[in-house]
Symmetry: C2
Subunit: 707 residues, 2 copies
């Protein structure tokens, strides 16, 4: 028995704080548990009976094994109840009671106490401040929601209880079945990682849907998601895309929400599908659970009207899908059953007077075409149309192994019964054909991601292994620390990069004008002069960069200009380097430490226009060569790397190499909290870092650990 | 009586081709017309009675005035029926019959014939190949759709009959009322422009919704849209966003679909709201018809659950809306009625146990706050929630003049009755709070566009006035024409620009190496050499551009390299110009002729990376200074124009001037079919065109006009 089995398949449930008071949460829980086939023990010292069941004065008095205790007593009493649970041998607990962290410091302290009790006794705990737990197929509804979900194969994990009630109501109305509903509450103990692993292993669950306000323990969550997403579709909606929304969520749960772009990158790498609307959340979860993933992007569309077909094509192509090209054989077969003026291609317009036989015959032949990876059937209720008969006929013939079948019966009352016929046959329906086409494109996207996940999983494990820190890099860090500096100079940053084997343009620090000229003469003209400063990091912004210097005189003039541009305290001389020819593509590579997800790497268009284009992608290391190559293709600047306007392609292998080395460096040197390489110039001849800045973490102060 | 009144408010209707045959289109029309309060005359020479009404052998035999004839006879007979209509004094005609243009050349010829008959008799005609026309408030359903829409204030014009049937069915189910439904069919006579003007003037119509596959007569459509969109919201969904979808639409209607980006630009300038999904189409139409436009972007959200509120904030901010900052007075009032741990800000979380009084009191106070431009109320069905009572209370207090009120009662069966209460009170409801927030943001967007439309309408009228073509520009065109060339050289293109007062860098054509050196000496170094060719237009791509030439020797070497790069026939010497300092922002300005919308101007990021960034906006001239300024702010490169990294802002007035002059030039010189100015460099010192290419229209051959 897994440690969470007592939560989701208990044989006996105690309800601590059970009550009959009308309108109370406790009464709602008691009523919802009425269908539970196992033993129910209401615990209430002031009542002999609750809701028709004998009540027990205390957990200890029950005298029989209790798998799960549902606690609905006031917050201040919960720690005490937890201690009783430990004595009574309760295996798992759901704390529905609110009034903890979300109410302030005192509540937070109570939360720590109940967690300590749970840990001491080895009890797993969901909540506090949650709606409860529901397992429809087991007849178990340990929530105070007003409805029980219909049994099904989607596990729904929600960080908002109220949103959960709305979704439950909707899923009952629309017949979307759930394998479990878990309101996670404050997640003091059982969190995303535990639940994802549990339902990843649950044979009754085909897909997992998450409504998320905060990530919580990101490492555990990511590890579980990476492991499970390969086997089962995971779909997440996360609030906090915008800073304003993050504030709203924070004031609601008292939890911090991390940077949205980092979350997005983490989901992409873990193979989790992120959606933006609640509607998409359930559309996707249902389809992914019911239908196979397509093996290609080509959708065959069979419709009894041209307009809806065209709308579907628009949506399909916009999301990366393709319109199928039907084979001559399929076209000939269709010619045999369709009226002469059918559309003679995909979308297949079977025309407004199509009956069930014509419609379903066309669906079958399109589905059987080797050039078709999935089928969308669109019906509009025209005067000759029988939506129910068409639904039955399509359900009978349309499923070809390995190819998803999506249906959109458009309209209201006229198509309601037809939709039900399709749903009963296990075919999910979509209100609009464009929405269905988007779902197909998302399914193809998921297939692509899975392939990527699988092929890189092994490599990533290898790449994560600890690298030796080069001595030279260690030395630079030590010296800066000894100086009490957190900001490394350009020259120091380049030393570290060079020590890791990342090509940098050779840079000499000159503290006098004549040293600068000497360096320039050694490199050969033209050269670049840049401000050397231990205080100023964005040199361009203060006029601290002089390019295209062709003579010693120009170097001397530039020295004077740079010196004049800043305060004496900020001027530590200049760095001199040769002027690299401007025929390359300017890139940015960087890394920062995210408080939740750790090291986050950045790649995109570099140079002074970096803020204008904002053309960048994020990734979590370790990067293998394979992931680096895929990552590289993300931003628009990738197109320039492939060669434009007669310019040859850049050396992508060299760029891959730099990315992998940067990933290894960031993992090996955790004291680097910010690394910014801009510009990095890529040409056919290689890749070179022209400018670099690095920031160190402040020294760690040892503080007493708060228990 | 407007020329279309006979179509939409006829006193008498003849049905030519009336029939009782079960399942026939004609029978469906007869049954649908049963509720029409005026006179119905079935015309069928083989029957004495059709569907209980006396039938007439011919239109001429009726002997009483016929306002509208609905024609359902075979295609080949329709021209003859039209002739009868003319003799019988019929004022308007709806041709439902199919089998015209969409079947090929013969059908197209028949279509021309029925149009000729209509024009001859002054009869306005809708169709052919359409579903018909419906005016619910008049009890008129001259379609073969299976349902009559409920009366309302949205006019729905659809180019797909079948999609129309689905939407009608849905609108009945959801209670969305229509003032009219028009299936436009092939639009041989009555087109978008006529219908938009008609419903623009119709007092029973508050908003106009279009499902569009082809624009048809773009000039008429645009003129009508510009005129009406200022007064009434217009929402359009147009298929053909993608080339593949355009193909699907073309095979369906036989109509051409223009470039989608041009259509988008035209809609933006006309003030028409374009949506991407059918769901949005009706959401927007309904809300715009029922609710005032907000005066600002600040949405107040009142919710009984935090999660849905956070989702709404995400959607709101992503679309340009803002979370309202509540005044201290409002916060104090809310403190008085809400439990202590309410959210103390927007979104206002009234908490899960909120009853109708608490909920509606919060809504009222938020709505009354001067810092709130609109209110969204979100309800989730929690155990203590009464969705109907809250709906009634909110409907009673929530409407503040000038501020839209949107509601999202989340869930299925549990909230159905509550939604109905809101709908009955004239408040539109949305299934999901994020969708409602997007609608609010779109309403604010529309308000902004209206302001823009109004302030520029007067200026545009002035700017459209014909400009004199400068003599020098005429001369260049004449010479190229005399040479039989359609492609102008860089030097010629710059001459034309200069003649229009657009600053160009001075460029000298050198046909010998020594001429090139002499020109360079005159300009002073560094200079640029470019291939001069009457055949090759993209000079960079063939290695025909040499920058940064510092000496006479470098000029001679560059001459040799450019000459060697192309075939002798393509080499006409070089153009020489001084090298402009590279501290400016590289832009592209251009114009092409769109087959439907005429001149289309383009502005965006220029240089060799133009295809990488694809950072561009389109506009239809004439541009006033005001529209040019707004247009300029569209692409990302605008941020660079405002000054980045210590670089001063570019001279935006000079750029505005160039845009307005280019607009005037394009309108005055219609033989310029392609103009490409790239790069145009903008600095604080002004704007200068560094390279230019122009293409002329082929000479017009006089062909006999086909009648």
């Amino acid at each position: 028995m897994s440690s969470l089995d007592a939560l989701f398949s208990p044989c006996s449930i105690a309800v601590v704080g059970a009550s009959e008071r009308p309108g109370s949460v406790a009464r709602a829980v008691m009523e919802n548990l009425r269908c539970f086939p196992g033993d129910i023990y209401p615990v209430n010292p002031r009542r002999a009976e609750v809701c028709g069941l004998p009540a027990w004065p205390s957990l200890g008095g029950i005298g029989r094994p209790v798998d799960l205790a549902v606690i609905i007593t006031p917050a201040a009493s919960v720690a005490g109840v937890m201690a009783e649970c430990a004595l009574a041998g309760v295996k798992a607990v759901v704390v529905i009671s609110a009034g903890f962290k979300e109410t302030g410091a005192a509540g937070e302290q109570m939360e720590r106490e109940i967690l300590a009790e749970a840990r001491r006794a080895g009890i797993r705990l969901i909540g506090p401040n949650c709606l409860g737990v529901m397992v429809p197929s087991a007849g178990m509804n340990a929530t105070f929601a007003t409805r029980m979900a219909v049994p099904g194969r989607v596990a729904f994990l929600s960080q908002s209880g109220a949103l959960g009630t709305a979704i439950l109501d909707l899923s009952v109305t629309e017949g979307t079945g759930l394998s479990a509903f878990v309101s996670v509450g404050s997640m003091v103990d059982v969190g995303w990682g535990d639940l994802i692993r549990y339902f990843g292993d649950d044979p009754g669950t085909d897909s997992i849907v998450l409504y998320m306000e905060s990530v919580g323990d990101a490492t555990t969550f990511l590890a579980a998601a990476r492991e499970v997403a390969v086997r089962k579709p995971m779909v997440v909606i996360k609030v906090g895309r915008t800073a304003a929304a993050a504030r709203a969520a924070a004031s609601h749960t008292g939890a911090m929400t991390g940077s949205d772009a980092v979350f997005e990158a983490a989901m992409t790498q873990a193979g989790v599908l992120r959606v933006e609307t609640i509607e998409e959340l359930f559309d996707m979860a249902e389809v992914l659970a019911k239908q196979p993933l397509p093996r290609g992007p080509r959708l065959g569309i069979v419709t009894n009207a041209g307009g809806p077909g065209a709308l579907a094509v628009d949506a399909l192509v916009a999301r990366g899908g393709e319109v199928a090209v039907l084979s001559p054989e399929t076209l000939a077969r269709l010619d045999g059953v369709l009226p002469p003026h059918w559309s003679h291609g995909d979308p297949v317009d079977v025309l407004g007077d199509a009956d069930a036989a014509r419609f379903s015959q066309a669906v079958q032949w399109v589905a059987e075409d080797d050039g078709v990876d999935g089928v969308l059937v669109v019906l509009t209720p025209q005067s000759m149309t029988d939506p129910v008969a068409v639904a039955a006929a399509v359900a009978a013939v349309g499923r070809v192994p390995g190819k998803p079948l999506l249906c959109s019966w458009m309209g209201g009352d006229a198509v309601r019964d037809g939709r039900r016929v399709l749903n009963d046959a296990g075919i999910s329906t979509h209100d609009y054909p464009d929405a269905a086409a988007r779902v197909f494109a998302a399914m193809w996207d998921r297939r692509c991601r899975l392939a990527w996940l699988e092929e890189t999983a092994a490599g990533a494990a290898g790449a994560a292994g600890g690298c030796e820190i080069p001595d030279e890099a260690q030395r630079v860090l030590r010296e800066a620390r000894a100086d009490g500096r957190l900001l490394l100079t350009e020259a120091e940053s380049k030393h570290i990069l060079a020590a890791w084997g990342i090509p940098v343009v050779e840079t000499v620090v000159a503290v006098t004008m004549s040293e600068a000229v000497a360096a320039a003469e050694r490199f050969g003209y033209p050269v670049v002069l840049k401000l050397h400063s231990v205080t100023i990091t964005h040199k361009s912004d203060v006029g601290g960069v002089r390019l295209h210097l062709e003579t010693a005189e120009a170097v001397r003039r530039a020295w004077g200009e740079v010196e004049a541009a800043v305060a004496p305290a900020d001027f530590g001389g200049v760095s001199v380097q040769r002027m690299v020819a401007s025929d390359g593509v300017e890139l940015i590579l960087g890394a920062v430490i995210d408080p939740q997800f750790g090291v986050v790497m950045l790649f995109g268009a570099g140079g002074t226009m970096v803020e204008v284009w904002q053309d960048r992608v994020l990734a979590l290391p370790p990067l293998t060569r394979e992931t680096a190559r895929r990552w590289m293709a993300g931003p628009k600047i990738h197109r320039a790397l492939l060669g434009i306007r007669g310019r040859p392609a850049a050396d992508l292998e060299a760029l891959t190499d730099v990315m992998v080395r940067l990933s290894a460096m960031m993992l090996a040197m955790p004291s680097l909290v910010e690394v910014d390489l801009n510009p990095v110039v890529a040409t056919a001849r290689g890749v070179m870092v022209l400018d670099a800045r690095m920031v160190l973490a402040p020294p760690v102060e040892l503080r007493p650990v708060v228990a």
